[in-house]
């Protein structure tokens, strides 16, 4: 028994070691721990972003849109009329947020959902809504409107966290979806 487990460990370390060479630039530890994480979208860790962009809705992860989209959304003139609201920021905060968003935008992310977002957009497409990205539209096209816009507890597809219970962690798998007033989603 003991011998078996030693052999197993040896085999494992050879296998992992082999793979880690392929990922040498990222480092073995980060590769090992990232396998699980890189499935979703990168969670937000920036405190200023979380404070400023969570007042009216869920703080969307930068990995949902390409840099060009964020540039359009966060331009000073755009924030004055942000979907009919004033989301104006002082210059310093605005600069911090635009830096954070563009450094972590979908086009630069290795996370699976960001890659899917980019794959579904043409080169010159830069929507200012996540809910206008073809990948997101397609993923939700089977949900009847009565569960979304006609559902008082949800109101719009824009409010991801109403249904995706692990949204803040960047996890959007279909098995963590619970539609308020309806229940768990199953095919």
């Amino acid at each position: 028994m003991k011998k078996n487990s030693v052999v197993f460990m040896l085999m494992m370390s050879v296998t992992l070691g082999g793979v880690s060479v392929l990922h040498a630039d990222e480092g073995f530890a980060s590769w090992l721990f990232s396998v699980e994480r890189k499935k979703g979208v990168e969670p937000v860790t920036d405190a200023i972003y979380n404070e400023e962009c969570s007042a009216c809705h869920f703080p969307y992860q930068p990995g949902w849109l390409p840099e060009a989209s964020w540039q359009k959304l966060i331009a000073a003139s755009a924030l004055e009329d942000h979907f009919g609201e004033s989301a104006e920021l002082d210059e310093q905060t605005q600069q911090h947020i635009i830096n954070f968003l563009t450094a972590n935008s979908a086009d630069k992310s290795y996370y699976k959902r960001s890659k899917k977002i980019m794959a579904s957009l043409n080169k010159d497409q830069a929507p200012i809504r996540i809910t206008k990205v073809p990948y997101i539209i397609k993923k939700h096209d089977e949900i009847p409107e009565k569960l979304i816009s006609k559902n008082e507890k949800v109101k719009s597809l824009s409010y991801c966290e109403k249904c995706h219970k692990k949204a803040e962690k960047g996890i959007f798998d279909d098995d963590s979806v619970f539609i308020p007033g309806h229940g768990y989603w199953s095919d």
């Binding site: 007042a55 009216c56 809705h57 979907f83 009919g84 609201e85 004033s86 989301a87 104006e88 920021l89 002082d90 109101k155 824009s158 409010y159």
Partner: protein, 131 residues
Amino acid sequence: MKKYIGLIVIIGLGCVSYAQANMDDLYKYYNPQGELTFGAERGKTLWHKKHLDKKGKERACTTCHGEDLRKSGKHAKTGKVIDPLAASVNKERFTDLKKVKKWFKRNCKWVLGRECTDQEKGDILKYLSQL
């Protein structure tokens, strides 16, 4: 032990004076020359006054903050819960000048279609701090 009690009292006093200083700082900020007097009654009227938006729909400060400021409000469009605004139940309120300035600017524009004057802001703060 005595030493500690002294320390606790000092810390306690420190907290109280800090909170009060902050509200006064806000009044001072909106009234640097000291020529304005702020009144909670005027603030209350402003707070509840209804304005019409471009589509003729009513808008007031209560549209998002609700009728009872000791309870949570709800953002008119997104439905996101807004923590109570009354300082008596929410100690974090009106402690950050930058935050107060930012939301006065945004919310006055949304409700009145213009920025509020210093007089109006001071009156509203008087009202909100007394709830």
